[in-house]
Symmetry: C2
Subunit: 238 residues, 2 copies
Amino acid sequence: MRKNKYHAIYKEWTDKIKTGEIKAGEALPSENELAESYNTSRETIRKALNLLSQNGFIQKIKGKGSIVIDVQKMSFPISGLVSFKEISKNFTAEPITTVHDFGLIKPDPFIKQQLNASSKDEIWKVIRSRAIGGENIILDKDFFLKKFVPTLSKQICEGSIYEYLEKELQLNISFAKKEIVVEDCTEEDRGYLDLEGFSHIVVVKNYVYLDNASLFQYTESRHRLDKFRFVDFARRGV
Amino acid sequence: MRKNKYHAIYKEWTDKIKTGEIKAGEALPSENELAESYNTSRETIRKALNLLSQNGFIQKIKGKGSIVIDVQKMSFPISGLVSFKEISKNFTAEPITTVHDFGLIKPDPFIKQQLNASSKDEIWKVIRSRAIGGENIILDKDFFLKKFVPTLSKQICEGSIYEYLEKELQLNISFAKKEIVVEDCTEEDRGYLDLEGFSHIVVVKNYVYLDNASLFQYTESRHRLDKFRFVDFARRGV
DNA sequence: CAGTGGTCTAGACCACATT
DNA sequence: ATGTGGTCTAGACCACTGT
């Protein structure tokens, strides 16, 4: 995909780790050896290794080397910015998306605040439920600023909106701020989901930004308690 | 603290952003200007700016510059590896820790598996509740491998175990894998917490590793539903 | 002691945005 | 054309680990 040298090296070693060609506890070749074998400089190797380290594949130990971290302890981190399509790969059952509401709206006070929108902005509102194994367990409420997403259709919403945004509209999603809380179920939740008597629901609020740092989407992903799972890898210190 | 040049520069600019000396949307000086003014090389400046970018302070835009991200949208990310003491800074009320159980145990099958421990390993078990505003809302269950933590006392557990581990024992906590799920309340939860009728509880499971990549702690932090909040900053892509 | 990763330098060329 | 960030190089010195 990208033509970065260090990214290619990163990819090559993530593959070796994922496939088990290198196992947890084993060491990678030293930075000097890698620099030699890839015919590149050590700093470039280090960029690749830092990526591996940040993403939880290896631990670098001064004076010793870079050793592979056990990646089995949890199914692999799917944290960060992931769309429903990516998440659902981890399920065996076939997920089904249903679009319940789709259209252009004027911002109500809540959305206006979430998206830093003005009263003149128009906003795409999309309400979708996600069924896995025959049960509707996730309710996704998406709001996009029309000035960044000029066109959208119900059909696109039945597939992957993100694929459309990135491939068709060439939008570069760059980062997101995420908040996870538990709320009381609403009438809307009860209407669209199979709640099985649960009175609360896990809400993941996402503020999504483009690469020019403008906020363009606010999303609430509402998960039935018993089906919610979030995994994360974190390095300590600044 | 550390004497890294790039880390010092990083710290200097996080301060300027946090205090509002530079506001969201404004640009930092260019990399060349910064290199000049700090009398250092551009690569060193870039290491500092990459830290700012990874931690959600700035967005770097090719051809334009590094602009400050709005950091108000959510109270500042306290994600990743944080101890209870750090979390509680964000509360106004004074938190109170109570140690309910403290001692050395032989691993039961569950803990054995969580810590990859052998039957001969000894394990410190610590059960603590956290009260904020007079209500016990968090139950922390900590398990440490004794081979990494030779001595521990009830008194230490009443304060910050992490401070003890890092300052006294000189252990370098390096990274953690985290999992967030919702479970049914247990009798233990009901015994130590003020649950107010909630039947479920948010469980944060933490697998904590030292800088030599050895797993030394497993922790379950059990939060009352209405008091749980997790925030995160994530950049997209590999 | 030799080998490892951690930091830093002073250059170079590129892709992109602005004027 | 100029200035910006993104990548890459070929060195250097340091702190740490092993023998």
